[in-house]
């Protein structure tokens, strides 16, 4: 029973983070119908930023979080203006190749600048674990999960309660009509990229406290983000949140019940089953 509780808790904790990573992906897709294949690799950049601000400046990942988030926001908007803007109306093939090319580029850049070594922040501010009725909860994991929930909530409030947020949703709904209402869709796309990538920045800084950093680290997280987005429905922020938790639970459960080495296979199999059976996802529009 305790083991069951332990897996549920671990699944929830990692699930919240998955949700945060996926929210940015689903937002970019929802607003402009472009899949950012390089999403996980922005996460990798964020983790490296957090790592280096510790290694070079001695700033704990928790304190560098705002700076990392801001840096990723700038990177996201820059990516939009430099690259994505040119392919908004291009055939889908070109869009896939461009964001996939971006993925390879960022990995190559990381390999070139920082080599293939695994790195970790050795003495974090956050360490140790809580022990609650037989269940161990790592403190950094707990803080990361809490941060992810807060950040998800903020994004949700931003979309529903602010003028910019509703403008963003309006553009997602109907670009032409939004333009007639005086909304600058170009700026909204840039904003979607900024926030979408910034949310990965938060996730990366939180992850850096307890996860290894290496050039390919974005690969698995990126794939999981796709699974989460597909499960929740492309473009649905609430769906991504729920789906993140589901995927986290499935991953940890299958690792425990079957074997740790195949938990990833189960998660990817879940993706295939979902998109084939219900292509619009749990909460997506048909």
């Amino acid at each position: 029973m305790e083991i069951f509780a332990q897996t549920v808790v671990s699944g929830l904790l990692i699930g919240f983070l998955y949700a945060l990573i996926a929210v940015g992906l689903t937002m970019i897709f929802g607003v402009m119908d472009i899949v950012n294949f390089a999403h996980g690799d922005y996460l990798m950049l964020a983790m490296y930023f957090a790592y280096w601000s510790y290694a070079l400046l001695g700033i704990d990942p928790l304190y560098s979080l705002p700076a990392v988030t801001l840096a990723l926001f700038v990177l996201g908007t820059a990516t939009y203006y430099l690259l994505i803007k040119r392919i908004i109306n291009a055939p889908m093939l070109s869009q896939i190749f461009v964001t996939f090319g971006l993925l390879i580029f960022l990995r190559g850049l990381a390999q070139f600048l920082w080599k293939a070594d695994y790195r970790a922040v050795p003495h974090c501010l956050l360490s140790g674990s809580l022990h609650v009725s037989g269940v161990y909860i790592g403190l950094p994991q707990l803080v990361a999960a809490a941060g992810a929930v807060v950040c998800n909530g903020l994004i949700f409030l931003f979309l529903k309660k602010t003028r910019a947020g509703t403008a963003l949703e309006a553009v997602a709904e109907d670009k032409e009509a939004a333009r007639l209402m005086g909304i600058n869709s170009d700026r909204m796309f840039a904003l979607a990229w900024g926030i979408g990538i910034a949310s990965v920045g938060v996730a990366g800084a939180l992850l850096a406290s307890f996860y290894y950093v290496f050039p390919e680290v974005g690969g698995n997280f990126g794939l999981i983000a796709f699974v989460v987005v597909a499960l929740g429905g492309f473009g649905s922020v609430v769906g991504a949140f729920i789906a993140g938790i589901v995927v986290g639970l499935v991953e940890v459960m299958s690792g425990y019940l079957l074997a740790p080495s195949i938990k990833f296979i189960v998660v990817l199999g879940l993706y295939l089953a979902i998109v084939v059976a219900r292509p619009q996802g749990l909460l997506g529009k048909a």
Binding site: L102, I104, F105, L268
Partner: protein, 314 residues
């Protein structure tokens, strides 16, 4: 057209005599790799280029081809040629199992699904003890002969076997391009709803194309296993192999008969030379180069490098 045919025969003649002028192992190896990637990219181009269904999972067929023949050789002593045929059958089965449900998916969903399938295959072979799991398979060193598909003294027989496969692949692509399937595939790529409305069975067309793609990739898998005599999951199922096939087709020209050939003759030397000249110091630079090439071609010249030659009258 006639000019094109002449150029093609000159090209083939050059490939046939190439080993007589280049006796060192490296240029021969380079040409073998170029032709092998050309064959696989021709396969990729049938489904991805003509049909517009981008797959990032074709390495699955490469791996299945390599593993089927190697397992049959090491466990049952079957000739790799039989293994190659068996590999094609396994790949066809896989293509059907994967393709039947997944070809309902559109665009991005399909592309991501193929990544998932590639990674699942890799993951399964990493833990499957019967086929050597993460350690892989060392193929036995047998007396060299055509039947054994092993040649130790020189790479020459490998070269000509690959050349034959290369010509076979071009022949397949040529027939596809001229056939009803080729026209249907292009129609599906340009306007799926329109194609459906005139009675094209979209899913069946995609499946046929995917099966051809699988076979061409699978025979390369068997060839690679016999050529290197060692396989493991990353070197056969690796995501980078699938991606290379896309890049090659893209830079050469999607949906063009000689697109993947041109792409392979540009891309593979680039890969091998950066590896030789940059070594481990330049780790990552090669990836940055290809990706920039990929992005630049996708934005500036989506019709690929082969369009540079198109004015000549082909």
């Amino acid at each position: 057209m006639k000019k094109g045919l002449c150029l093609f025969f000159i090209f083939v003649a050059l490939l046939i005599v190439f080993p007589f002028f280049f006796r060192n192992p490296f240029p021969r190896h380079l040409l073998i790799m170029i032709m092998m990637y050309a064959v696989m990219s021709i396969g990729w181009n049938i489904i991805g280029g003509y049909g517009g269904q981008v797959t990032f999972g074709n390495a699955a067929f490469f791996g299945v081809g390599a593993y089927t023949s190697s397992v049959l050789l090491t466990k049952a002593g079957l000739s790799p040629w039989t293994g190659m045929a068996a590999g094609c059958v396994s790949s066809l089965v896989l293509a059907f199992i994967v393709g039947y449900p997944c070809f309902r998916l559109k665009g991005h969903y399909f592309a991501i699904a193929t990544i998932a399938i590639g990674q699942i295959m890799m993951g399964l072979f990493m833990v499957w003890d019967f086929v050597g799991a993460a350690v892989g398979i060392y193929l036995p060193i047998l007396p060299q002969s055509f039947r054994n598909f092993e040649f130790h003294a020189t790479k020459l027989p490998y070269y000509y076997i690959m050349l034959a496969m290369f010509l076979f692949a071009i022949g397949v692509a040529f027939l596809v391009e001229r056939s009803r399937l080729g026209y249907y595939l292009r129609a599906i790529k340009d306007d799926p709803d329109g194609a459906r409305s005139v009675g094209v069975n979209i899913r069946r067309c995609k499946l046929y194309a995917f099966c051809l793609s699988a076979v061409l990739t699978s025979i390369c898998g068997t060839f690679y296993a016999q050529y290197v005599l060692y396989i493991d999951p990353p070197s056969t199922f690796g995501l980078m192999i699938s991606i290379d096939l896309c890049i090659i087709s893209l830079i050469g020209g999607l949906g063009k008969l000689f697109g993947p050939v041109i792409g392979s003759f540009v891309f593979i030397p680039l890969v091998e030379l950066t590896r030789v000249y940059l070594g481990s110091e330049g780790q990552g630079i090669d990836l940055m180069l290809y990706s920039l090439l990929m992005i630049a071609v996708a934005i500036l010249r989506p019709q690929g490098l082969s369009s540079l030659f198109a004015r000549g009258g082909r």
